[in-house]
Amino acid sequence: MKAEARQKIKEWLLSLPSLFWLCLFFVLPTLFVFAIAFRPSNPYGGISAGWTLDNLRHLADPSYLVVAWRTFWISVLTTVICIFLAVPAGYYLARVSSRWRNFFLMLIIIPFWTNFLIRVFAWKSLLHPEGLVKRLLVFLGLAGPQTSLLYNPGAVVLVSVYTFLPFTILPLYAAAEKFDFDLLDAARDLGARPFQAFWKIFLPGIRSGLITAVLFVLIPSLGSYVIPDIVGGTTSEMIGNKIAQRVFADRNLPQASILSVVLILLVLAPLVAVLVLQRRRGKPEAIL
């Protein structure tokens, strides 16, 4: 087994720089955050010495439950809407001729060339009470002059969907491209109606793409801070906002840290669930 062992050592050595980088700039800071969560806070905005469980008790505050629930349902809704829109898009992109396909892919990717913050601000001005969209809706009679499109959870969901949609379309398109469309012909040949073929054959066929797409939306959305901050207003605070508030406004690092710990665990949960499911199926497939 000498050759095998040597191969293993070589692999480890090659990974060493990346592992080092990950440890120094990722694992260590995360451990720091975990540590700070259990330290008392200093009234002057720092961290005192000693250990305490005060921050943990502070979590029991009922307002946190509201924020957590809001974070959860906004993220899940965003994910559902994104998947709903992206699956037909991926299907269509995989079947259309390559000239059209490149055109549409360009359309999807071009927004990435613009700064993310600027795009969110653009939405803010679009949804402004005197903005274009509002005036159009009032003109069509779909909205009263008093309805506000901005500063509510709906706006957060809308802008989140806008932001994360490309991240769902691309993995779904990648999976659909690898899908053998002959299978749909075979299903039709055997008596399946088009929708039955789509549900029973196509969706299971792009399972890996679906999982990737869901993770690409759900996890960033859970931790989103910028979007609820700019277009959400005070009624749509998410965990990210609360953490930012604790750090910048309240200067209470330990409380911010405990919230971060909660968020990290919330985000890890779906990932772990997927890993466990994969392992149980016996396939050590990469998720991404």
């Binding site: 299978l183 075979a186 299903a187 040949d189």
Partner: protein
Amino acid sequence: MPVSSKTISPENPRIRFEYRRLRRALSPFYLFYSFALKKAALFFIIKNLGEDRNELNEFLEFQGISKQFGTIQAVENVSLQIKKGEFFSLLGPSGCGKTTMLRLAAGLENPDAGRILLDGEDITDLPANKRKVNTIFQSYALFPHMTVWDNIAFGLHIAKKPKNEVESEVEKMLRLIRMTDQAQKKPGLLSGGQKQRVAIARALINKPQVLLLDEPLAALDLKLRQRMQIELDMIHDQVGITFLYVTHDQGEAMSLSDRIAVMDSGRIEQVGTPAEIYEAPRTSFVAAFIGDTNFLEGEITDLVDNEYCRLKIAGISGIISFNDKSIRPGNPVFLSIRPEKIHITRDRPEESTLRNIFPAVVEDVIYLGSTTKYWARAEGHRIQILRQHSRFFLDEKPIRWNDQVWIWWHGDDSFMLERYREVDEGLIAVPPQKVGEPDGNNERNNETA
């Protein structure tokens, strides 16, 4: 006898073919009793055809089907009648439209023009999932996320059949394809032959009226292909369903089919039994695509009684041939003679009025073990001869390059083509000309090389 006049006219190539066969068998008596025997022969043929009731039982019918993809005309005005229970093959090179015909029958494509009838019913506008036909795809298209059991049961699940019926049918199918112990495997773990059997079971379980097979053996290696051919034949015999089989492999088509339709560039060149297609091809394409042949262009000089005629071919006169197309003198004609019908000997053969004998020089030899292909030049023409070695090869002094030989064939064994195209000669694989040989065939053969 309830046989329509359409089928018993002398123009029907099938009648001619049967007639020739019978006539040959009776030849010793022929000269004396020719008239009476001809009538008797015709009587027996008609009787046989009348007994063969399926002759007029069109089960799957294409009427004037055309289909275009963009600028490419895949199928052009094709009409075909497939009988119930027969094993019918569509044979042709890649791009001839045979797969398109299959997809049209399955309902996966819609024709631009024409109708498709199944058992008398017009199914042209019926969607694929409602037609009582099932397809076996070239890539098998087994659902990878389902087990073998679920794959086979798919059609019945869609049709919402009761659970116990589904179970018993699937078990029956698994026994038919001999895979009862592999029912819980996923297709990814199966071999090519196993995948194909599952595809067949998945299609047959729905009891379709026609089974469509799209080059199902193309992806298998030779030995497995031979085994699967036998299995397909067995299944066809056992189940009795009409098979429509698409292939570019002539050996497969010839050995499996009851009838073959040869297609080229979206059109049907000829329809017939394998023997008809091989021994009596109507066009140069069919003659060259199936097996090998020699083409000779000439003109009919005169007729010899009602059966034979003499031709003049590029400077050689007096070539005798059976006049199966009843062509008048003075008309140009393309003669085609298959290599195995030509004899090659060192000694001058016996003269006979019905034999065409020529001296020749051997130019190329390809030894194939049980047979040898020779290319010999006779009177300026390059002729291919196939010879079977029925004795130990080295006991007879083998014929080598540059040997002076005699080649001859019987006038009965050549056939005339209704249509000849020079481009079809390219279908026959020929060794290239030797450099410096002055010959009109030069450019053509160099193109094949």
